[in-house]
Subunit: 318 residues, 3 copies
Amino acid sequence: MKHFLSVKDVPDLSALVKEALAQKQNPFGNKHLGQNKTLGLLFFNASLRTRLSTQKAAQNLGMEVMVMNVTQDSWGLEMQEGAVMNGDKAEHVKEGAAVIGQYCDIIGVRSFAGLTDKEKDCQDEVISQFVKYAGVPIVSLESALRHPLQSLTDVITIEEYKTKPRPKVVLTWAPHPKALPQAVPNSFSEWMNVANVDFIITHPEGYELDTEFTGKARITYNQKEAFEGADFIYAKNWSSYQQYGQIVSKDPAWTVNAEKMKLTNKAKFMHCLPVRRNVVVMDEVLDSPESIVIPQAGNRVWAAQAVLKEILTSLPGK
Amino acid sequence: MKHFLSVKDVPDLSALVKEALAQKQNPFGNKHLGQNKTLGLLFFNASLRTRLSTQKAAQNLGMEVMVMNVTQDSWGLEMQEGAVMNGDKAEHVKEGAAVIGQYCDIIGVRSFAGLTDKEKDCQDEVISQFVKYAGVPIVSLESALRHPLQSLTDVITIEEYKTKPRPKVVLTWAPHPKALPQAVPNSFSEWMNVANVDFIITHPEGYELDTEFTGKARITYNQKEAFEGADFIYAKNWSSYQQYGQIVSKDPAWTVNAEKMKLTNKAKFMHCLPVRRNVVVMDEVLDSPESIVIPQAGNRVWAAQAVLKEILTSLPGK
Amino acid sequence: MKHFLSVKDVPDLSALVKEALAQKQNPFGNKHLGQNKTLGLLFFNASLRTRLSTQKAAQNLGMEVMVMNVTQDSWGLEMQEGAVMNGDKAEHVKEGAAVIGQYCDIIGVRSFAGLTDKEKDCQDEVISQFVKYAGVPIVSLESALRHPLQSLTDVITIEEYKTKPRPKVVLTWAPHPKALPQAVPNSFSEWMNVANVDFIITHPEGYELDTEFTGKARITYNQKEAFEGADFIYAKNWSSYQQYGQIVSKDPAWTVNAEKMKLTNKAKFMHCLPVRRNVVVMDEVLDSPESIVIPQAGNRVWAAQAVLKEILTSLPGK
């Protein structure tokens, strides 16, 4: 594995999931692999799970980790080719990425969608520039378009909790007070389309995701119909892709509650977290035995560890 | 030891002090204990001594350490049970704490009193919620009510510097330009009441601490009387507990100076730091040979190391 | 080596450069040296290269590293002797430095010139106070006056790329939208004066540096004349030293471009980074094969590693 940016970087998803579950059984068995290797984690945005789980995964593999909150620890990065840098950005990503690549064997980058400039977000500028200029493998810690470590985690978690070979998995939109990026649902859709599941998406009209990610997935505006017989309910808010970055509904009828969960096949409830309680989903669901959001978050370590292990074993000289 | 939140978590204070002094003699002798164990340090407030000394202690024990400034690195945490999370808090502590507990074997938490809502501060909400939801041992790095790592340090330091079996220890209030929490004097009182010392508290009227912490301690409004024959002077400012969080006096007559120190039995001067020079205490005292504030701060490492060692040896599977 | 603050702390520059190049060949050969030793890195200002390269260097030597953004993680530090600390500074550097010295075997400090108070900047207050009070070796990560790890890096890089025993090295001022400190050009001048190079400085009138640093170096206001036959062009902006901290010219005629580079002896282009593209230097130069700014930045690791190794081997008990 060279970079880890999307499901396209995974030649064999089922093998990667097995690897992650093997790491979970034996977290410190590959501690020699990361010896004298350094992982840089660059955050252009806040992070809790990703920050801690990726750091933990790297340390389990014996790596050193250097964490940087880019904008508060360092300088603003100019992304524009050919820019006359007379403004507030002190360094161009051409130098920034290449320099960090001098100090790190692998770089993780988090940079969210700005949600104001659709075209710019769709180019996934920051992570793409790091891939172009850093000269070392890049791991997405959530980009404008995707959150692949989360999606791999989700596949692993479904694999652990499924009670039939091909479970029904529902991605449901839910209300939220703020406009959120589409990265998680985009990415989840992309990975579900590769995984061996019966995948369906439900959301209000106007919340259609980019078909580049949803592909062949079934889509319905009828949340209850989607929930019927489901084995996994995956809730997530996102802002509109058509009316880019806008909140076109906050309809509380879309909040996941116990009544809706009764329509399912005793479905497990999943969410990438952080989650707004009693807005996205009611306490009664989150606090029920069907909620697996905490072990799901715990699996972030094994997803990251499987990915880092793959990249470490592909490094030149290994 | 399960958690470390107050002196009540210490079954045998004298044994813990001995352990700390043994760690000081042989800092790296237990490096195997923390192998493959991770300490998470969460700061809701600024920190210098606690941050560095606890990190150092954990590294001396062979642990990995992950440090997070919660509000600037991550998301605001909702503490209220049943909250409809439509505001500025993105994550509930139920998830936040439980998720961090998935990545860390021990979690240290610092969260100061807000000093505006007495009842809320008295519930020591943040640390209590972490104890409730994290699922792993919690170490207080100073909560709304207590600063037990500081107090253990103080007991260790008094043990090192005392010249008689039962020294006279004076906790004296001193003026300060800002309203400060009562955590340090609360905690110091609680620990002194368990330690083998003759303990007396002096402060202006209106600065009475909660009797839950001061217990059987003698209290006087006459600072000079308190200083007479003292072996240790421990200075600290705090805001009023009765007129909660208010500054009811800035009387410079309470500043510790050389003249007052002459009333003592060549007392050692202690302070938890940071200290406002020439407000809380004059340069002439801080710069005198009787000031032991720097070795006192140095002892923070051994206090933390003794506590972490105790918890590490109590972890399931150990 | 006790401290590393300027070229004066280096008894044999040529030996230190050899040591750095030896570390580059064998980065992990001295991992035992830093065993159980802790490096504290304190940033009063933003940092990318210095932060990551020094951390990496210390880890290569087996050290633990604790990084702190002083003002955002901790308390404001009072620097003034005898201050009555009734204002916004919670801790005096006397305590701050001494306490950090209790937790760290070596401390790195970055604190830029404020550019408003010439006298204060010239006293290099922050780093001087740490030297005075920390009680352990101090490494400058750029002070008000100097950036010695950068300058050592520059000497190493010139050593690697030079094609004649005594190359011609040009330090050229270049325009910039913001007022910048003189630390880098000061320090570069000081080190070039010791290194075996033919050194010349060029800048517009009004940008004369303090002769304490430029010493015997030739200075010309004619940039083109300076460039003629040069082997290395080192570009850098700085604000005026005479009209302290002022921008007295933004003349774009001083921007380094391909045409000027043609006057040189196929000179290598160097810059300490971050660099303002198309303001300090044109893309055509930075993106040309003659630009060595990235490997130059990479050499920051080996400069730091050589310095830390020297200090580690001089620590008491070694």
